[in-house]
């Protein structure tokens, strides 16, 4: 019982913290990734609240699909694509090497 409540409290606090981080993380990509994490944790909370089917929808649509849309949009608006999919761009790498 108390373990359950403790778990719920930690989950709740993590949700609030993630929400804040999504809004304040300086890197937009990081914010979107945190948003996806927020959606997945939210789905976890809904499983805890006896709503597994809604949790499924949130994970698939709320976190997954919205997240993918956001990543794609963030890619366009920052002029860069999501790092995992990015092909090496010679010009940019030169700049990176020039820094140190």
């Amino acid at each position: 019982m108390t373990i359950d409540l403790l778990f719920d409290s930690i989950l709740a606090l993590t949700l609030a913290w993630l929400c804040w981080r999504v809004l304040s993380a300086p890197d937009l990509f990081k914010a979107v990734v945190l948003f996806i994490a927020f959606g997945l944790l939210m789905a976890l909370a809904w499983v805890r609240l006896n709503a597994p089917d809604i949790a499924l929808a949130e994970a698939a649509i709320g976190a997954g699909l919205t997240g993918a849309l956001m990543l794609d949009a963030a890619g366009q608006m920052t002029g860069r694509s999501f790092p995992y999919f990015r092909k090496p761009e010679p010009a940019e790498q030169e700049v990176d090497h020039g820094e140190p």
Partner: protein, 104 residues
């Protein structure tokens, strides 16, 4: 402190944080992210209510149906907003809402 109160209070907190985000963040994507999380906060409250309303282990299905409807409506509005934002960005290069008079 019960499960109901924990989640209901965090839903309230999320809603307030997201409102703050919408007001102060100027990047369109941040605003859309905040609106989306605001939706999640409302859905969390609804699911908490469903759990509170349970009878013999069956949660209230009406808020569940409302949330499912709400998720689809929210993703529709989000996707459309993103499409507009991207078009706007492609046309102007701006990432925040600009008027001719410069207000946001």
């Amino acid at each position: 402190m019960s499960e109901f109160l924990i989640y209901a209070l965090v839903a309230a907190a999320l809603f307030a944080i997201c409102l703050h985000g919408i007001i102060t963040r100027r990047h369109i994507l941040r605003k859309i992210l905040a609106l989306n999380m605001m939706g999640s906060a409302v859905f969390l409250l609804l699911i908490t209510i469903a759990e509170r309303n349970q009878v013999d282990g069956v949660a209230d299905p009406v808020p569940h149906a409302m949330v499912l409807t709400g998720i689809v409506v929210a993703v529709s509005a989000t996707a459309f907003a993103l499409a507009l934002a991207r078009r706007y960005h492609a046309q102007t290069g701006h990432t925040e809402l600009h008027d001719e008079d410069g207000s946001t």
